[in-house]
Amino acid sequence: MKATVTVMLKPGVLDPQGKAIGQALAGLGFAGVGEVRMGKVIVLELAETDPARARTAAEEMARKLLANTVIEGFTVAVDGA
């Protein structure tokens, strides 16, 4: 079963990489792009076959290692059920 953990800086935490990407997009002529935020996607292959338990496990992994909850939030999506 596959769990996808998306980690993003919390709202209000300065994201200079997102800002730089936004400026580069403007430089390329893409108009109408508001704030750009950059994050990480971590895909986990899990032996677990129960979606609820897989989600719980992935959330625990995110809290303990994958995200730094001082500055980052995360979401977990489970598929392959």
Binding site: L14, P16, Q17, N68, V70, I71
Partner: protein
Amino acid sequence: MKAGIVLFPGINRERDMAIALERAAGHAPRMIWHTETELAGLDLIVLPGGFSYGDYLRCGAMAAQAPVMGAVRAHAARGGYVLGVCNGFQILTEAGLLPGALLRNAGLRFISADCHLRVERADTMFAARYQRGAVFRAPMAHGDGNYFADAATLDRLEHEGLVGFRYATATGEVTPAANRNGSARSIAGIYSPNLRVLGLMPHPEDLVDPLLGGVDGAPLFEALAAA
């Protein structure tokens, strides 16, 4: 005091730190590999600068989970001294031994330049050889040194007097221009509530010899050696 320096894969400032400690103390510190778990007999554990585990995931995130960190946590819980410089500071925040986090520099660029640090309090073991309000020069070499914590945590640090050092001008003024990495409230270094764990972003260990252009960092290591 007996000091040990923890070596994680990817760390590269451990020799600078060893030179600074040995120069002040007259004897070499113990080098500790990241898989070691027995740190008895040490008074001070230093987490030096570098790029532990290639800065994978987040700076210091992998090192914070290394086997040695259980012993470092136990040492800190016993009231032992811990100094984390640069990547070492990042590791201490990732391990939860100090609050907050070090974000990407506000200007996005890696900063390799000297800065000036203002000593916010001198009544600690680390800063005892400086005067409160004194300014000293220290080299910076980091891409992720932008100290961040939520407003409540920053207020608590200020209220409890746990801000050890701030980025300042050569004359000791805390200005936005002197705060080149964009750190919250110009914070360069913070203490734990018992003042025995210090995380510091710049490198005092790299300014302890006149041949390198100054000895501004020497008082910190002399204080450690004398304690």
